[in-house]
Structures are given as structure tokens and as C-alpha cells.
């Protein structure tokens, strides 16, 4: 569904991504882990067309939607209006199906997004991305700043969407344990380069990955 090949992105003279390649197959859940400043958000901003690559290619079969880091809602607009704008590209503004998938949002539809809790805002951000009817969902830091119970609820929704609708997911996470638990495969990004790749089990078993990201003794 998503194929990134030799992608290079620069900010002026600084190279943020250096010949990064990765794939996400149809219906697959793939993790992208790495520390702060590794280039994870640069990658997802390039996938969604906000940044332009200096080299390499991004091929998306179908549609890609992006749940940005820090939720990035429109705080002055209502939940329903936030969702409607998620359908801007596809010109379909019917928010009904989103409330079916994320019923917790239905009672909040007239509330201003800026007044919601962090977990509720993250759910709106996911719902807004789903409005674009994506085939691939790139989720940037789903768990950041959220309580574990809230994260578990969001993860349950992602699993359901993946299992029942075949939605492919690229999960960009600092929380490597969460990402490797949820996804079948993963990549490790450090300083703009993919330094490790493989199945979630292989990555978790890699002593270097385990030491750096899973809190295990090296």
C-alpha cells in the first residue's frame, strides 16, 4: 500500500532523512520507532505531502491519512466540524460513519475540540483522519501524553479498524513496547536512517533495540 524508497529530506543544509526505505503492505500494521529527533515526524509529514523530499520516492496505492503528533485539532471548531474538515480532500463530509466507529465521540459532537481531554482529542484526531477514507493510516505518537487506559482504548479501535476494514497502519511511536506489541513488523529510525528492520519479535529480541527502547539490560 505504501512504499518509501531511498527517501531523503533536508531542512536547508541539515539532512533529516537519509535514504530511508520502508513498506507497509495491504492490511498490515507496521511500527516505526526511534528516539526524539530521529526524523519520524519528518517522514510522516513527507508522506502526507506537507514536506517535499530532496530525493527518493513515496508511492501510495489508495489514500493515506495522517494523525499528526500532538493531535493538532482546530480548537475553536466543534468536534463535528473538525471531523467534517477531515473529509476535505475526498469531498465527503458525512460524519455519521465516524460516530459508528468511534461511538464515544457522538455525545461530544457539539463541543469545541479545544475543551476536550487529551484522550478525547486524540480520538477526534483519529476520527478526522478516518474521514478521508484512507487505505493507510499514519499515526504519529498515538500514546504521547495519554494515560495507559486511554491508550489501550485507542489501540483497541485501531486493531478493530485493521481487522475488520483492512486498514493498513504505520504507527510512529516513541513507546516501542506499545508499537511492537501492536504491529507485526517494524523499523528503527535513528538520526534519519533506518538502523534496524524486521518482525516485531526479531526487533524485540535484538539486544541493542531491547536496551535502547524496551528498557532491558544490554
Amino acid at each position: 500500500m505504501l512504499e518509501v524508497s531511498e527517501l531523503t529530506v533536508r531542512y536547508g543544509l541539515a539532512t533529516a532523512l537519509d535514504r530511508v526505505s520502508l513498506t507497509v503492505g495491504a492490511g498490515e500494521m507496521v511500527a516505526l520507532i526511534g528516539p526524539n529527533g530521529a526524523g519520524k515526524s519528518t517522514l510522516v509529514n513527507t508522506l502526507s505531502g506537507i514536506l517535499s523530499p530532496a530525493g527518493g520516492t513515496v508511492t501510495v496505492r489508495g489514500r493515506l491519512a495522517h494523525v499528526p503528533e500532538g493531535r493538532q485539532l482546530f480548537p475553536d471548531l466543534t468536534v463535528d466540524d473538525n471531523l467534517r474538515l477531515g473529509g476535505w480532500r475526498v469531498r465527503n463530509r458525512d460524519t455519521g460513519p465516524i460516530y459508528d466507529v468511534l461511538p464515544a465521540l457522538a455525545p461530544l459532537r457539539r463541543r469545541r475540540a479545544g475543551q476536550l481531554s487529551g484522550g478525547q482529542q486524540q480520538m477526534v484526531a483519529v476520527g478526522r483522519a478516518l474521514m478521508a477514507r484512507p487505505d493507510v493510516l499514519a499515526v504519529d505518537e498515538l500514546s504521547l501524553g495519554l494515560a495507559p487506559l486511554v491508550v489501550a482504548d485507542l489501540v483497541r479501535h485501531l486493531r478493530t479498524l485493521n481487522a475488520e476494514r483492512g486498514l493498513a497502519v504505520l504507527l510512529i511511536e516513541q513507546n516501542a513496547r506499545l508499537a511492537l506489541d501492536l504491529c507485526g513488523r517494524g523499523y528503527v529510525l535513528e538520526a534519519g536512517r533506518v538502523v534496524a528492520a524486521g518482525t516485531a519479535a526479531d526487533l524485540a529480541a535484538d539486544p541493542r533495540v531491547a536496551a535502547a527502547y524496551l528498557g532491558a539490560a544490554a
Binding site: Q72, L73, D76, R84, L85, W88
Partner: protein, 286 residues
């Protein structure tokens, strides 16, 4: 009593022009966070264009409509220079609009000269409880109310209005969902140009318009728009009408030379009042 009524109606008419210019400021600010100081020029250019078109024999209605269209195109052109380069900070764009407003003087004098212009509006006069005023005032007030109702619907009920608001609310998120923020900004400048143009063609039959009349309009429009924090069209309408009536009363019972001063006093009062209402924590964070 008759006098008072007369001042009220003429004040409301003048206030409508401020409200329309103010609404242009609001539309641009809501979308781009830029205070567009060229807003008054759109009115002057449209007024001058209409006077030329009418003098050349074009019928009423068509001439004014074309002049409003010229205002819209001018607005979009100003927008292109002020915000066309992505990443231009709003403060820099503000200075650009200020410069373009002054540049407009040169163009206006070159094309139309420095003499005041006017043209006939709706003919006839109306009697209301003994007060007599030009029928044109009814057109000004009616058109302004219709425009503000339309703006309210645009922002509250349409997806294009939501997308326009979204651009300033969170430009990054707007791009994430696929909204072209620069194009929306240009659209807002175009709409502001049309609103300014409408103010110009409506006010010219009751007020001689010179090339530098934009200062009066933009100060009045800013005073009106600041009442709603440059964000709310409805409060801008209230602000514009209040200012227009205050000016008419001061001119009627006092001295007509203090029009701009009335606007400035209202502007300062509202700004001090707004600053006093702002929580201290927010001021410190700013």
C-alpha cells in the same frame, strides 16, 4: 427629536461603511492573522472605478457590480504580494499591506487625479416621523445587513467557511487535512476586496471620496472590528454602527471636524477595555 432621528439614520448609513470595511479586516484576519491596512484602498478604488464607469455611460447596477469585482481582484492581488510566499509571518505581511495602501495613493492619483469624486445613488428622499433623509441610506443599511447575514452563514454553516477559519486556527492541521492554506488566504483577501469595494460604492453617493479617504475608512473599520477582537463579524457590525452614530451625533450637536477623533477615541477605549479583560496569565504568556 426629528433632528436626533435624522442623525441616527445618517449615522447608521456611515456606520455601515465602517462595518463593511471592518468585516473585510475580520475575514482576512480570521484566515491569515494578518491585519490588512490596505483594506480602505479597496473601497476607494471601487468608488473611483464606479464613478468612471458611470461617467462613461454604463448603467447603474452594472457599473457598481464591476467596481466591486475590481475591488475583489485588487484584494486578491494585495493578498498575493502580502501572503503569496508561504511562511511569511503575519507581522511582515501587515507591513506589506501598509506599503501597498500607500502605493495605492500613487496609482489612484495617476489614474483618477486628486479631486474628490461622487455619483448619484438611489434617487429620492424618505420621510420617517418627520425626519427626512436620502433614500440611498435605506440601500446602504439593507445591503449591509444582507452581507453580514451572508458572512454569518458562510462561517457558521458552510464547509468553505469552516476551512477558512481552520487555516488561522491551526495552519499545520489545515495542511494535514489537505486544505491549501495559501489559496484560502488569497480567497479571504479577494472577499475582503469585494467587501471593501461594496463599502466604497455604497458610501460614495453620500460622501465625496478622495484618494486618501481610505484612512478614514480603515481607522473606522478597525475600530469596529476590534470590538469583536478582529474575529467576529456580528460585533464588527455593532461596532461600525455605534461609531457611525457617535460620529453623526458629535457632528450634529457639536463639530463635524472631529470624525476621525471620534473613531480613534472609540478604538482606544475598546482596546484598553479588551486588554483589561484579558487574564494576567495570558498577558504574561504572550
Amino acid at each position: 427629536m426629528t433632528e436626533l432621528l435624522q442623525y441616527l439614520v445618517t449615522g447608521l448609513g456611515g456606520g455601515c461603511a465602517f462595518a463593511l470595511v471592518g468585516s473585510g479586516l475580520v475575514v482576512v484576519y480570521r484566515v491569515t492573522r494578518v491585519v490588512n491596512f490596505a483594506q480602505g484602498s479597496f473601497a476607494v478604488i471601487a468608488a473611483m472605478t464606479a464613478s468612471t464607469l458611470l461617467a462613461s455611460g454604463l448603467p447603474h447596477g452594472l457599473a457598481e457590480a464591476l467596481a466591486v469585482a475590481v475591488g475583489a481582484v485588487t484584494g486578491a492581488a494585495v493578498g498575493l504580494v502580502a501572503i503569496g510566499k508561504p511562511g511569511t509571518p503575519p507581522d511582515a505581511s501587515l507591513i506589506v499591506t501598509l506599503g501597498l495602501g500607500v502605493f495605492a495613493y500613487a496609482v489612484e492619483i495617476l489614474v483618477w487625479g486628486d479631486q474628490p469624486r461622487s455619483f448619484r445613488g438611489v434617487p429620492g428622499a424618505v420621510d420617517l416621523f418627520g425626519a427626512r433623509f436620502q433614500a440611498h441610506y435605506l440601500l446602504i443599511i439593507g445591503a449591509t445587513l444582507a452581507v453580514f447575514a451572508g458572512l454569518g452563514l458562510l462561517f457558521a454553516r458552510t464547509d468553505i467557511g469552516r476551512a477558512l477559519s481552520a487555516c488561522a486556527s491551526n495552519p499545520y492541521a489545515a495542511r494535514v487535512v489537505g486544505i491549501d492554506v495559501t489559496r484560502m488566504g488569497l480567497l479571504s483577501f479577494g472577499v475582503a476586496g469585494a467587501l471593501g469595494g461594496l463599502a466604497g460604492i455604497l458610501v460614495t453617493p453620500i460622501q465625496l471620496v478622495t484618494f486618501d479617504y481610505d484612512v478614514t475608512l480603515v481607522v473606522g473599520g478597525f475600530a469596529a472590528a476590534i470590538l469583536g477582537g478582529l474575529m467576529r463579524p456580528a460585533l464588527t457590525l455593532v461596532g461600525g454602527l455605534l461609531l457611525g452614530v457617535a460620529q453623526a451625533l458629535v457632528a450634529g450637536y457639536g463639530n463635524g471636524a472631529y470624525q476621525l477623533e471620534v473613531a480613534l477615541v472609540l478604538l482606544l477605549t475598546v482596546m484598553i477595555w479588551r486588554a483589561a479583560r484579558q487574564p494576567i496569565a495570558q498577558q504574561e504568556a504572550a
